[in-house]
């Protein structure tokens, strides 16, 4: 019996009777991070890291039973040792290490290796079997250092100021938005946020993470109040009347998909910045090698292709058909979150 196996509910450890990021309702769930495809509603008990908990609490509501644990702290369930290790994906995100009778498995959730200035830095965990995402598991995806990307973003922002335009940058409201804000230079101009982004900012700040000052966009502000500013919003904010008061504007998107020209054109934004919270091709390969794993199970993304590539390199590898959906999913999910918040406002 494999230490972790795929069931209809999700990734399951039979020995400990616990699931990792399950997609159907279960009794006990270990959660890698707060994105909706990993942290679903309705489980009886949740366990995540201390720093992931506030956002998960915000998303799932007060009634859910959520416990949390320190990074690196070991916990035993029926002879199986579990620990959470930084995945560098968003604040609080973890890879979950599972050890039983000397055999080590790591379920990595979503991860990236470059330190992004706010999320706990990725930690390489040695293991026998590594379960990896492959959202950008193709050799065409190679990220520049984020310092260069933020230079481009700031240059574009300054150019928009010279052209008298408001800068609008779309980003997923949990994770990407805070990463961007954390790396923006508030000396350049004021930073405004969509409500869905600011809700998360408030939670993150309360946890003690530093974010430069931001102003929530609300109904009382008028055209002109945004002069020289940058507005951080989920992509779904663009489709609404909400954006009208930023005219004239220049719209950019920050996502790993922007590496490919076709995807940039599909989004029909003025500027596409290649900035992802997932590993690129080269880091992915470096991580696999670094873990020393002899078996690699590949989940969401270009899993067929990447798994075949690993097998050719001599590793034991196969695809795990999970229901995680990577960066694409995150973009779609935004509307769901905004929907939730609107509901709250009405109540």
């Amino acid at each position: 019996m494999a230490l972790l196996q795929l069931t209809k509910n999700g990734l399951y450890c039979e020995q400990a009777d616990v699931y990792i990021d399950p997609w159907r309702k279960v009794d006990r769930a270990l959660i890698t991070h707060g994105h909706a495809d990993h942290s679903r509603w309705g489980h009886k008990a949740y366990l995540c890291t201390h720093s992931a908990k506030p956002v998960i609490r915000h998303r799932l509501g007060a009634k859910m039973k959520i416990q949390s644990i320190e990074f690196g702290q070991k916990m035993n369930m029926n002879g199986v040792s579990f620990s959470f290790h930084p995945a560098g994906h968003i604040v609080g995100s973890a890879q979950i290490r599972v050890e039983y009778k000397g055999e080590v498995w790591v379920a990595s959730g979503d991860y990236k290796t470059e330190y992004d200035g706010i999320s706990e830095a990725f930690e390489l965990v040695k293991c026998n079997t590594y379960i990896t995402e492959s959202t950008f598991g193709l050799p065409v995806y190679k990220w520049q250092p984020q310092k260069e990307v933020f230079e481009d973003i700031h240059n574009w922002w300054r150019q928009n100021q010279r052209d008298g335009k408001v800068t609008i940058l779309t980003a997923y409201s949990l994770g990407k938005a805070q990463r961007i804000i954390a790396n923006l230079d508030p000396e350049v101009g004021p930073i405004f946020t969509h409500g869905a982004v600011e809700d998360i900012n408030e939670i993150i700040r309360e946890q003690g993470f530093y974010l430069p000052p931001t102003t929530r966009v609300n109904k009382t502000q008028k055209k002109g109040d945004f002069k020289n500013g940058i507005v951080i919003t989920p992509a779904s904010g663009l489709g609404t009347a909400w954006v009208k008061k930023f005219e004239p504007k220049s719209v950019g998107a920050a996502s790993g998909w922007m590496a490919v020209r076709g995807a940039r054109r599909r989004r029909s934004v003025d500027r596409g910045f290649v900035l992802s919270d997932h590993v690129d091709w080269e880091s992915l390969n470096a991580v696999i090698e670094g873990t020393g794993a002899e078996q690699v199970l590949v989940t969401h993304g270009y899993s067929d292709i990447y798994s075949k590539y690993l097998r050719e390199k001599g590793l034991k590898s196969q695809v795990l058909e999970t229901q995680f959906e990577g960066e694409q999913q995150e973009e779609e999910e935004v509307e769901e979150i905004i929907g939730e918040n609107e509901k709250k406002e009405k109540e």
Binding site: P139, V140, V260, R261, G262, R264, R266
Partner: protein, 530 residues
């Protein structure tokens, strides 16, 4: 090269026409005549002759990037653009080589008769000396297809601002079969006698789809109404004992249609006719499919000439006896055209008959007949209209017949290319035949990006089998498919082939059992066979 790569990058980053024109104009002013000519050529789909097979480029790129070829091919499939895929996978440059655009084009041209090893060395060396953006351009110089949202019109506008020459004259000068290799900026653009090049066509006047009310069109007697033929728009030119046929895509297709050769002797020197290249036999048009079998062929065999003969269905006269008639009103051009065609009196040149009617409702009835007459609808042309250039609203309208539709079940989905590489956008559809689903068509466009994302989610969760990039999915989603025509086909399992199939809408309201049947399709075939 750096400047051109930068121009391309900036053009790619803006959707504003005004800024594109400014960017182009600034570029034109900055570079020398040679680079400017090549930029103009590249942006109007003219590129140096291909000297390297793309199969070799793929092999070399995979090798230099240390990737198995299959992985490179998978990446190419997902990116959808070979030049870009290569630029993305290659390792970082090892040195920096700064040369103008023309230098790289010459380098590529000079590889023509070289041995494969020499070609390889030159290409690998070039890749290692260029950054990612420049590499992309370099690869595009070899593979072609500079799609950057710059139309010929936009480029002409920028050129007009730069040269201060009237846009219309430039449009004319830029048409035809020129290449920076056999002309100069001075000759092509600054030269004031555009008719020197006898092959040059006039810019086509294109109609908009009719979207007005009859009241807005005004009095019915002011309009000339013709059938809308289902062929290829073409311009036939006879000047100085030479004949040239241009297709609407500004391609010179003279050699593909030897039927017209005879007109060189029959038409007077200085004649330009606008019409439809139409497959035609036994006094009626043939299916467009038949013409399509000819288009791709290099050699036009006797057999093709027998099975897919073409005529020119003429509808306008742009030049007669060397005189430009475009400012003459349509009704006068029509009289001249009728006279000319009667005089020529040859079966390969017919005149598009005028459809008569004394009220708009009479024309509505005529439009109903379109399908049975193997036509696409009607053309409405204002009798007083001049022959304008490009797509202009007001005087010419195409009034197509409503498409046929059928509700079909999605059976297979394939990932899109390029713009939609992370979504499943290409679907195969089926109809019921008893308890079986018989696939009958593929269809692409027609859904919004949001709907594509939704279908992609469905595909991810309901895949039955995978065949490379194609997945078979649970039969559950129903779509309304619209198409322009239907014909018998022995190549398809269903026995029918559709013309211009596309997704009209997603029938979320329809359960899969209620999709149409094969019998519904064959009934359509009986009624509307083309």
């Amino acid at each position: 090269m750096k400047r051109f790569a930068e121009l391309f990058n900036l053009l790619d980053q803006t959707t504003s026409t005004k800024s594109k024109v400014t960017l182009l104009k600034d570029y034109f002013a900055l570079v020398d005549d040679k680079d400017r000519m090549w930029a103009m050529a590249l942006l109007s789909h003219r590129r140096p002759k291909r000297t390297i097979k793309t199969a070799l480029l793929r092999e070399w790129a995979a090798e230099l990037s240390n990737l198995p070829l299959w992985l490179f091919e998978e990446s190419y499939h997902i990116v959808g653009d070979l030049a870009e895929t290569i630029a993305l996978v290659l390792p970082a440059a090892t040195h920096k080589k700064e040369e103008p655009l023309t230098y790289w084009i010459d380098l590529i041209k000079n590889l023509k008769d070289k041995e494969e090893v020499e070609k390889k060395e030159a290409i690998l060396n070039a890749w290692s000396g260029l950054d990612a953006k420049e590499r992309f351009i370099f690869n595009k110089l070899i593979t072609g297809g500079f799609r950057v949202g710059v139309s010929q019109k936009l480029m002409t506008k920028a050129l007009s601002q730069y040269t201060e020459i009237e846009e219309k004259s430039l449009t004319h000068r830029l048409m035809g079969n020129w290449s920076p290799d056999d002309t100069t900026f001075e000759e092509l653009i600054l030269n004031e006698n555009p008719l020197d090049d006898i092959s040059k066509p006039y810019p086509f006047y294109l109609a908009y789809a009719f979207d007005l009310t009859f009241e807005e069109l005004g009095n019915v007697s002011e309009w000339q109404v013709e059938r809308k033929w289902d062929g290829i728009r073409g311009q036939l030119i006879v000047r100085k004992e030479n004949i040239f046929i241009w297709s609407r895509g500004e391609e010179l297709v003279t050699d593909k249609f030897p039927e017209y050769k005879i007109l060189t002797e029959l038409l007077p020197d200085g004649t330009v006719i606008d019409g439809e290249i139409l497959p035609f036999k036994d006094d009626k048009p043939l299916s467009f499919n038949i013409l399509q079998t000819r288009i791709g062929r290099k050699n036009i065999t006797k057999k093709i000439l027998e099975t897919a003969p073409v005529i020119l269905m003429a509808y306008d006269l742009l030049e007669l006896d060397g005189k430009d008639l475009r400012e003459t009103p349509l009704y006068e051009r029509r009289k001249l055209l009728e006279k000319l065609i009667a005089k020529v009196d040859h079966p390969v040149l017919k005149i598009s008959p005028i459809v008569s009617g004394d009220s708009w409702s009479a024309f509505e009835k005529e439009r109903e007949k379109s399908r049975s007459l193997d036509t696409e609808g009607l053309m409405l042309k204002r009798k007083e209209s001049s022959y304008q250039s490009g797509r202009k609203k007001g005087d010419w309208w195409k009034w197509k017949v409503d498409p046929l539709t059928i509700d079909a079940v999605m059976l297979y989905a394939q990932r899109g290319h390029g713009r939609r590489s992370n979504l499943y956008t290409d679907y195969t559809f089926a109809v019921w035949d008893g308890d079986n689903l018989v696939p009958f068509t593929k269809a692409y466009s027609g859904l919004t990006d949001k709907e594509f994302a939704e279908v992609t989610k469905f595909v991810n969760k309901n895949t039955k089998e995978k065949f490379g990039p194609v997945r078979s999915v649970k039969a559950e989603l129903v779509f309304e498919i619209a198409f322009e025509g239907i014909s018998k086909s022995s190549r398809h399992k269903s026995g029918v082939a559709l013309r211009f199939p596309r997704i009209k809408r997603w029938r979320k309201d329809k359960p899969v059992e209620e999709a149409n049947t094969l019998k519904d399709l064959t009934d359509l075939l009986q009624n509307y066979q083309l």
